[in-house]
Structure formats: C-alpha cells, structure tokens
C-alpha cells in the first residue's frame, strides 16, 4: 500500500525577474524549525514553525505566500444518490493525484496579492490546486476552445473537485489561511504549519513565494519529511511486508489473551 513519495509537483514558475540594473535584488529566505516530523505512539499532530526573512531594498511593498504540499496520492470519491428512496453510493471516481496535505498561508488574501491567472499558473491556493482530472476524461474542442477537459462527470466536475477539497479541509489536511504569515519584525516573518494526526507520511515540499505588485519576484524551496519511527514503524512495516505472518501473530496473540484471561479468572 505504501507508495513511494511522488516527485515534486511541477511548478512551472519562471525564474524571478531580475533586471541587470538592480544591484540590490529583492529576495526571500526561509527555514523550518523542524525538517523531520516523527510519528510515534504519542503522535497527535505536529506544529512546525516556518520562519524567514525578506530582503526588500525597494519601496514597493512585498507579500509573502507559504505553500506546503504533502505527497501526492490518488483519491477515490463517491457521491451518494437517491435511488427509490434509498441513498446509495455512485461508482467511485478516481482523481489520479491530489496532494495528501496542502496548506497556504499568506500576508493577505491570495486574491489581493496576485491575479487569478498568475495563481493558477503557479498552483497557489486551494482554488488553484492541481487535482488531476478523473481517468475517464478526454479533451475536446468545445465552443471553439481547444483542449477543454470533459469527463463523464460533465458539468458536475467542479462539484466533485470542490468535494475533494471540502472533505480534506474537514480533516484539517487542506487549509488556506489569509493571515497565516505574520511579520514579527521588519522583514522577519513566521508561519505555522499544522500537521493533523491523519497527515500522510512521506516527503513534503514547502515553497515560500515573494510577490510584488502581483508578480512573483523570489521563491525559496524547503523540504519536510514526515515518517513513522520506533514501534509504530516496525508494526506498520511488518504488517505490509509480511502481512500473512502478521495476521497469524494477531490471531495467536488474541487466542493467548483469551486463554490467559480464563486461567486468571478461574483461579480467583
């Protein structure tokens, strides 16, 4: 079941514009308080602080946007529909890849920082999250526009997409906080990354974007690893590598406990 962490999402952002005449370039640098999150028996989620500095010699105000993505995994979604008075599940729809964790934190609402097209291109914001279209999709020319993605979901596609985001938001896996980036001092900012207990294990990618007048001017990339450690990892790996021996062990343990209990209670 454990899949290898997928490669980082292709961020097709252009290199930040740096004109040759600018000596003091606008830059952002960032780091995480903890680049490894260990999941053990006491794991109840984790809170990691991302902090950084903005070098902004110009007079133009800059906005910071932090994006953290968890490992991609396929998502299967069903919709309940009413058939003859009974609520039944539809056939599941497979979304090829959606990040297992996604959060944005910014200094202002994303819509005020950059234009729709820019955010969509960078894949920044829950509305612009890249969730690959369902498997049955095909591209056609419609209303003179080429490459329109249609699937058997048809017009409902947006509903399904929104449902993925809504369900993940409810599980605290997706989150967009418009005031998540807090400036503690001139040029010094911090943002909190809250990982819930259900956060998937694997490699996480954090991007810290610096926007000026709606344009990305600098980006800093960080990685974060969430992994099971100790007994938890041993059990998980045992259950997945040697599933049959694990099952037999479970049964033996259960039978032994039952036998032990009956011995203890008979003596009393």
């Amino acid at each position: 079941m454990q899949v290898l962490p997928p490669p980082p999402p292709a961020v097709t952002a252009p290199a930040p514009d740096r004109s040759a005449s600018t000596v003091d370039e606008v830059r952002v640098a960032a780091a995480l308080t903890d680049a490894r999150v260990m999941v053990d028996s006491g794991f109840r989620g984790a809170s990691i602080v991302l902090y950084g500095a903005v070098f902004n010699p110009s007079d133009t105000p800059a906005d910071v946007v932090v994006v953290v993505r968890g490992p991609d995994a396929p998502v299967r979604l069903v919709k309940k529909t009413r058939n003859m008075g009974v609520w039944l599940n539809s056939r599941p729809v497979l979304f090829e890849g959606a990040p297992g964790f996604y959060m944005t934190a910014s200094t202002r609402p994303l819509g005020d920082i950059a234009e729709f097209g820019q955010l969509r291109r960078l894949g920044v914001g829950l509305d612009h999250l890249r969730i690959n279209a369902p498997e049955e999709s095909r591209t056609v020319t419609r209303y003179g526009v080429k490459d329109v993605v249609v699937s058997r979901l048809g017009e409902d596609y947006l509903d399904w997409r929104r449902a993925v985001i809504r369900l993940r938001e409810a599980a605290a896996l997706y989150n967009g906080d418009p005031d998540g980036v807090e400036f503690v001092d001139e040029g010094l900012f911090r943002a909190e990354v809250e990982l819930p207990t259900v956060a998937p294990t694997g490699k996480y990618f954090a991007e810290v974007w610096l926007f000026q007048e709606g344009e990305p001017v600098s980006v800093s990339n960080l990685t974060l690893t969430v992994e099971k450690v100790g007994l938890e990892r041993d059990i998980y790996e045992f259950a997945h590598r040697r599933p049959w021996s694990y099952g037999i062990l479970c049964v033996v343990l259960a039978a032994f406990t039952g036998w032990g209990a009956s011995r203890v209670f008979r003596r009393e």
């Binding site: 069903v78 099952g247 062990l249 039952g258």
Partner: protein, 307 residues
C-alpha cells in the same frame, strides 16, 4: 492519554477504548455472544476507518470466544465433530467474504453492504428474538404453560447425502446443512466483522435441532476458527488489521466478558433474550438508518485508492 494506531493511522484515547472493550466484553459474557455486532458500529463512530474496525475486531472476537470455549470445553459442552464441519464451512465462507468485501470496497459499495447486512440480519433476528422471548415472558406472567414445541427437523434435512453421526448433538444428519451454515457465518464475519453467533445459535437450535446444551459452546468453537481465518485473510489481503487497536480492545474485553458471564446466571434466559433482542434490533436500525436519511455530506472518500 491518546495513542496513535499504526495501521488505522489515527490517534485515539486509549482508556476510552479499554472501557469500550470492557463494556462490549461484559455484554458478550452476559448474553453468551461474541459482541462483534456492537463493537464495529462504535469503533466506526469513534472515527476508526470501517475497514480497519471490521478487520481488527475480528481478532477481539477470537479472544473473547477462546475464553468462552475453554470454559465450555471444561463442561464437555462442545460437539467438536459438528463444530469441525461447520468450521470447514466457516473457512470457505471467510475466503469468499474477504474477497467479496475487497471487491465491494473497490466498487465503493462496502458501506452499502455493511449497512444492508446490519439492517437485514440484525433487524430480522432482533424482531424474532423479541417476539419469542416477550411471548414467553407474557405466558409466564399469566401463569400459562409454555406449549411444548415439536422437536422435529425439517424433512429436507433427511433427503441430503453425506450423512454423518454427531452423537453429542444427538444428530444423524447430512453434513451439508452445518457446512452451509458455517459458510454463511464466515461470509458475514468478513463483511460485518461479527462472529455470527446471533445467526448460528438460532439456526442450530431451530433448524438443526441440536441438543441445547452443546449449542453455544459449539458455535463459539466455530466462531474462533472462522474469525481467526478472517483476521489472517484481512491482514494478508487488505492489511487492515491494527494489532495495537485489537490489543487495547482485548485488555478490556476479556475482563468484561468474565464479569458478564458471572452475572448472567442471575437472570432468566427469556429476559436476557428480550434485552438482547432489543439491542440487536436497535443496532440494526441505527446502522440501516443511513440508507434512508439524507446525508449531510453527499460526497465521501472511498478507500482502496492505493490498492
């Protein structure tokens, strides 16, 4: 006081789970049942994924049935011969049931299968038990004599081949009906995570007409074999057995079961059956209700994406 479950990948309050295990164990000891049908809905309610809940509690049923079987074996109240035939059916049923459950999960219809099985089987059994036990209580209150039931098996039981002698049960019948009964219980154990005692016991009493004294012990023996098989298959095929979860449930469960069993002697059998019938019926209705009530969230994530 929270503990992270490595397979379910959620964190739960472990004292609450121990108490839950003890409460279900108490009920199972009191009524002489596995208690699986109570455990699965509560675990799901606590936020444990249904597939993990159903698979992990099967091993809880193994433990509570083991301590039951040991005490019944001491009283020589188990017919191992017919139990072996039924267990053979149970193994076949577990194989079929786990594959069926896997297929339904991929179709996204596992919820429906679980809800429907609970509604149909628990609903029907609950109504029957209530009807029968309330009738008996009413007759006792009115001072009427319980009409003597005809101890006659359905005639078709005699027409089948492969007849075997089961001296302890007082039977000389074909091996096919007990085998089929075991298979059916095996399928249920995979889909509902239950031992199937609530189906087995009435069927053994009223259809096979086994001697009443050996019915419960023999059914527990069959349940151990079936649920052990289910646990191994769920672990091997679906990797959904959480050993930490089942161990926590066991700790409370075995203790609760012993106290339940001690207390059961203080009540009349038909009163116990009436209460159990009511519980069974309520759980069945509760699980089936989701089929008829408009859900607050129309979409749901289906498991099995990574399979």
């Amino acid at each position: 006081m929270d503990i992270y479950l490595p397979i379910a990948e959620v964190s739960v309050n472990w004292p609450l789970l121990v108490l839950l295990g003890a409460a279900v164990g108490f009920v199972s000891g009191l009524f002489g049942i596995g208690g699986g049908f109570l455990m699965a809905p509560i675990l799901i309610f606590l936020g444990i994924p249904p597939s993990v809940a159903v698979a992990s509690q099967a091993s809880h049923v193994v433990a509570s049935s083991t301590s039951g079987v040991i005490s019944y074996a001491g009283q020589k109240a188990i017919d191992f011969r017919i139990g072996a035939v039924m267990a053979g059916g149970g193994i076949l049923g577990a194989l079929l049931g786990v594959e069926l459950f896997r297929y339904l999960r991929l179709l996204g219809q596992a919820d429906l299968a679980v809800a429907l099985s609970y509604l149909l089987f628990l609903g029907a059994i609950g109504v029957l038990m209530l009807y029968e036990s309330l009738g008996q209580i009413l007759r006792r209150v009115r001072g009427e004599v319980t009409p003597h039931k005809e101890r006659r098996r359905p005639l078709w039981l005699y027409g089948l081949p492969l007849r075997m002698r089961f001296p302890r049960s007082g039977l000389y019948i074909s091996a096919i009906p007990p085998f089929a009964l075991g298979t059916f219980a095996g399928v249920l154990s995979a889909i509902m995570g239950v031992g199937g005692g609530f189906i087995l016991v009435p069927a053994m009493l009223y259809i096979l007409r086994m001697k009443a004294g050996v019915v419960v012990g023999t059914s527990l023996f069959q349940i151990i074999v079936t649920t052990a098989m289910t646990t191994i298959l769920q672990a091997g095929r679906n990797q959904t057995v959480d050993i930490v979860l089942s161990t926590i449930l066991l700790l409370g469960g075995v203790v609760g079961a012993q106290y339940g069993a001690r207390l059961s002697g203080r009540f009349r059998a038909e009163e116990l059956r009436a209460v159990l019938g009511l519980i069974v019926l309520l759980v069945g209705i509760q699980m089936g209700l989701e089929l008829f009530v408009r859900p607050s969230e129309l979409f749901a994530l289906a498991p099995g994406a990574v399979d």
